[in-house]
């Protein structure tokens, strides 16, 4: 899901439109980078529980994908992102973030180290313009693969077994490893759900063949095609933030000072001050100890989703807001990602002000919030290698 609003000139069909269209009961489409993407195909409950208990198939082709190659690719990327790309080995994927000169987050994404001086960057926001600026002066080439590389995300406990049936040998593929076959299919052990799962990338032409192969391999293992709504629940349970929801990509902000530093988003550990210069470093050195607010995970009392609630210290002073809040079906709690003003981040008396509307009646609740330092849900199968066969 991108926050850049494309002019509504009609949504484009993605590479799996035929398959998705046929499965869509709910006919609920949304705009993801201009593509018609499913919010749900059937209903969110079925889809979510397939993701956590069986396996889910989600089209991630609308992601922006950029190839960065050339002798100075590492050098160029090391100026772009805040972590040290020289520490990412070939065959590995790394979560990376990049900032503007003022140290404000532009976007996050995954960096695939495909080969010597050959990388792919996947992200939510369109980034070609920025990458071309970042590339100027380096001996590299940027190729926009967004419309030529398709992607499927298969997540859930039976995903490994399904891919085995489909003929992929992933026994030694640890989280953040990837595997490439001779036909240009790349399978990485990554995902946006915190569960056991894989993301598969391949040229558009292969889209139908791969869908069929995986779909057929999953028929006995509960594979279900899903839309973004279910993924959204899973990603909040995993504690992952989303562009435009939990952080404001600074290049899409119009007001001054709406950007956020990695330290304000609790991803400061991705900033490597020791690696040499990178974009925003000078500003971040100054800002690292002065976060204005902090993105934290909270367990919220009660059972009503706390999305968008304002947060009060001692039920009195407004000190923050919730950017993502759901009732988690798996942990059976109301959970939230929330921005809290720095001086209140350790306050023991934080309350979410939750409003619910029922049959014409508004009810206001003040629910106690307790910080949760770890992901809300992190099943051990996500890390186990080789994963358990089902």
């Amino acid at each position: 899901m991108s926050i850049t609003t494309d002019p509504k000139i009609g949504l484009i069909d993605g590479p799996f439109q035929r398959q998705l269209e046929a499965l869509s009961q709910s006919r609920s489409w949304y705009n993801w980078a201009g593509y018609a993407a499913p919010s749900t195909l059937d209903c969110i409950e079925f889809e979510y529980f397939a993701l956590r208990n069986q396996a889910s198939l989600f089209d991630i082709s609308p992601l922006f994908k950029y190839r960065v190659k050339g002798s100075e690719a590492n050098k160029m990327l090391n100026r772009l992102v805040t972590r040290d790309v020289n520490k990412i080995k070939v065959g590995r994927v790394a979560y990376a973030i990049w900032c503007n000169q003022d140290g404000m987050l532009i976007d996050d994404g995954t960096l695939f180290h495909l080969g010597n001086c050959d990388w792919r960057l996947c992200c939510q926001e369109p980034m070609l313009d920025w990458l071309l600026e970042a590339a100027w002066g380096f001996n590299i080439e940027i190729i926009d693969e967004s419309a030529t590389v398709a992607g499927l995300s298969i997540q859930g406990p039976t995903s490994y077994s399904i891919l085995s049936i489909a003929g992929f040998t992933l026994d030694n593929i640890k989280p953040f490893d990837f595997y490439q076959d001779r036909n240009g299919v790349l399978i990485s052990r990554t995902g946006f759900t915190g569960d056991l799962g894989y993301e598969i990338f391949f040229p558009h032409e292969k889209a139908s063949d791969l869908w069929d192969l995986i779909w057929n391999s999953g028929s006995d293992l509960g594979l279900r095609a899903i839309g973004y709504d279910a993924v959204n629940i899973a990603r909040i349970e995993a504690g992952f933030m989303t562009a435009g929801i939990d952080f404001m990509p600074v290049q899409s902000t119009e007001y001054l000072h709406r950007g956020q530093t990695p330290f304000e988003l609790n991803i400061g550990k991705l900033v490597d001050f020791k690696k040499g210069h990178f974009n925003g470093r000078r500003a971040l050195l100054d800002l690292k100890d002065k976060p204005r607010s902090c993105l934290l995970r909270f367990d919220v009392g009660g059972f009503k989703p706390a999305d968008s609630a304002l947060i009060y210290h001692k039920k009195k002073y407004e000190v923050g807001h919730i950017s993502s809040g759901i009732w988690s079906p798996t942990v059976k709690k109301s959970i939230a990602l929330a921005h809290i003003k720095t001086q209140y981040r350790n306050s023991p008396a934080l309350f979410a002000e939750i409003y619910t509307l029922k049959e014409g009646q508004w009810i206001k609740r003040m629910e106690k919030m307790v910080e949760n330092k770890s992901p809300f849900y992190a099943p051990p199968r996500a890390k186990q290698t080789p994963p358990f066969k089902r």
Partner: protein, 504 residues
């Protein structure tokens, strides 16, 4: 290890000004210059006279820092302007009065004088702004100072009186064509001012902001001088002065690399393999050369983007014609080398000449400013031709140079009919030659275009307008920084003041 308190890369007027300011405040300084002599673009030459031949804006404060309080009437000669007219009845402009050579007054209603007086008034205002860093670039510590300065500037605006102040604010952003033709008929005087406004620019008289350029040029009261003993001698004076101030000078050696450790400047690596160590480096080259010396990895992406987008097209060429003897001008009184000769008969003519430049050509009817120079026993006619693009279609080959010379000679024949027979030798220095020899993109007169989007706080780029760039200890002191080029020295001086403040 530290060899000097500061290293200055580039020994042009701004490098010299920066070094003298620092040194007069007790800092040890070295200038690194790739050419064999100091003087930079202004003093650049081949066999014949230097690129620059007139002093427009030499700043008294710079001269004072140099300890040259006495540079004055002996060393500088004031220069009259002769506007060349096809009719043969040329116009002499002297102290903002305009006369035909036969003695008649041109400016019968006094409108030219009024206009130039207005320009000088504006110039006084701009000068105040030029002698300091742009507003808003001070770090927080000094912002009271900044506010005071702003108030003082506001006050001097107010003191113009309400209608004058309005007029100033309206005029300054205008194009010079509209500005001039409001008060003057289109002709040699309007042509002269539009040529002065656009010399060194990639903009014609109808481009917005050219009034600003004209005011900049006339910044110090319309008084135009030349060094009495020649530009080389003038720079010799400056060099002797900085040597007296104990500034070390290394010539004929290129700065290759600015050494950086832990995001702080440590020194400069030279082409001869040696390294000079210092925690402060002031760079007066163009921004692209600076970028190469620093290494792009040390610049933020926004900054390299600004450098990439900087408009630096060079538009000025120098053509020197060596003459067998001096032509004789019957009705020009006084020494002929105390005049500059302007070929710019009208605003339209100037605008036409610029049109060619837009499309990668030089005009067949060029705008030029020429002076006669005597060197030893040689006579030279030395011309600055405007609107000669650095990116010439077809490239700068021998034929193109020859062609440029012919075009110039043809247009000058209007007042020296015998010119062609007098020429014994010639040389053409193109904007590209300046670029290559001096490390200044495009060979641009001001290092980067002086247009409304590249002046004051936006000069050279919004982020670099406080004379600071990239890693700790790196400063910009060339004319691409505020206020800009000409033999003025304020960019260097302002940068040095910033260094002194930051290293206190």
């Amino acid at each position: 290890m530290i060899d000097y308190d500061a290293i200055v890369i580039g020994g042009g007027i701004n490098g010299i000004a920066a070094a003298s300011m620092l040194s007069s405040k007790g800092k040890s300084v070295v200038i690194i210059e790739q050419q064999s002599e100091l003087g930079g673009m202004a003093a650049h030459k081949r066999e014949g006279p230097t690129a620059a031949h007139l002093l427009w804006n030499l700043n008294p404060k710079v001269i004072k820092d140099l300890g040259l309080g006495s540079i004055s009437f002996d060393d500088l000669t004031s220069v009259d302007t002769i506007c060349v007219c096809e009719s043969g009845n040329h116009i002499r402009v002297k102290n903002s009065g305009a006369f035909y050579l036969d003695g008649r007054v041109v400016d019968t209603d006094g409108s030219f004088r009024k206009l130039t007086n207005r320009l000088s008034r504006y110039g006084v205002l701009l000068k105040k702004l030029a002698e300091n860093a742009p507003f808003g670039t001070d770090d927080k510590l000094n912002s009271t100072q900044d506010i005071l300065r702003l108030l003082r500037f506001g006050l001097s605006l107010k003191l113009l009186g309400k209608s004058q102040m309005r007029k100033f604010l309206q005029d300054i952003l205008m194009n010079v064509s509209d500005f001039l033709l409001d008060d003057l008929p289109d002709g040699p005087l309007a042509g002269l001012l539009s040529a002065d406004a656009t010399r060194g620019q990639f903009s014609g008289p109808r481009n917005p902001g050219t009034v600003f350029n004209l005011v900049y040029r006339y910044g110090h009261g319309c008084e135009l001088t030349r060094p009495t003993k020649g530009m080389e001698n003038f720079f010799e004076l400056l060099v002797n002065a900085i040597k007296k101030l104990n500034v070390d000078v290394k010539t004929h050696v290129r700065a290759e690399k600015i050494v950086i450790e832990e995001d702080a400047v440590k020194g400069v690596e030279l082409a001869d393999g040696t390294t000079v160590f210092s925690n402060t480096v002031l760079c007066s080259s163009g921004l692209n050369s600076m970028k190469k010396m620093v290494g792009i990895s040390y610049l933020d992406i926004e900054d390299s983007r600004s450098i990439k987008n900087l408009r630096t097209m060079g538009t000025t060429a120098k053509v020197n014609l060596k003459l067998s003897k001096l032509p004789i001008f019957e009705n020009i009184k006084g020494p002929i080398n105390d005049c500059r000769f302007i070929v710019a008969p009208s605003v339209d003519y100037v605008d036409n000449a610029f049109n060619s430049c837009k499309y990668g050509h030089f005009s067949q009817t060029p705008v030029s400013e020429s002076v006669f120079t005597f060197r030893q026993s040689e006579f030279w006619l030395s011309s600055i031709i405007q609107f000669v693009p650095s990116k010439l279609e077809g490239g700068w080959n021998e034929a193109a140079r020859e062609h440029l010379k012919q075009v110039l000679v043809h247009s000058l024949s209007a007042f020296i009919p015998s010119l062609n027979e007098l020429i014994v030798d010639f040389e053409v220095i193109t904007p590209n030659d300046f670029a290559e020899d001096l490390g200044v993109e495009g060979g641009n007169w001001h290092h980067s275009e002086m247009s409304l989007d590249q002046i004051f706080n936006l000069r050279p780029t919004p982020r670099f307008s406080a004379y600071r760039a990239g890693p700790k200890g790196l400063y910009l002191c060339g004319s691409s920084s505020h206020p800009g080029g000409d033999i003025m020295g304020l960019s260097g001086r302002n940068a040095a003041i910033r260094v002194l403040r930051n290293t206190k």
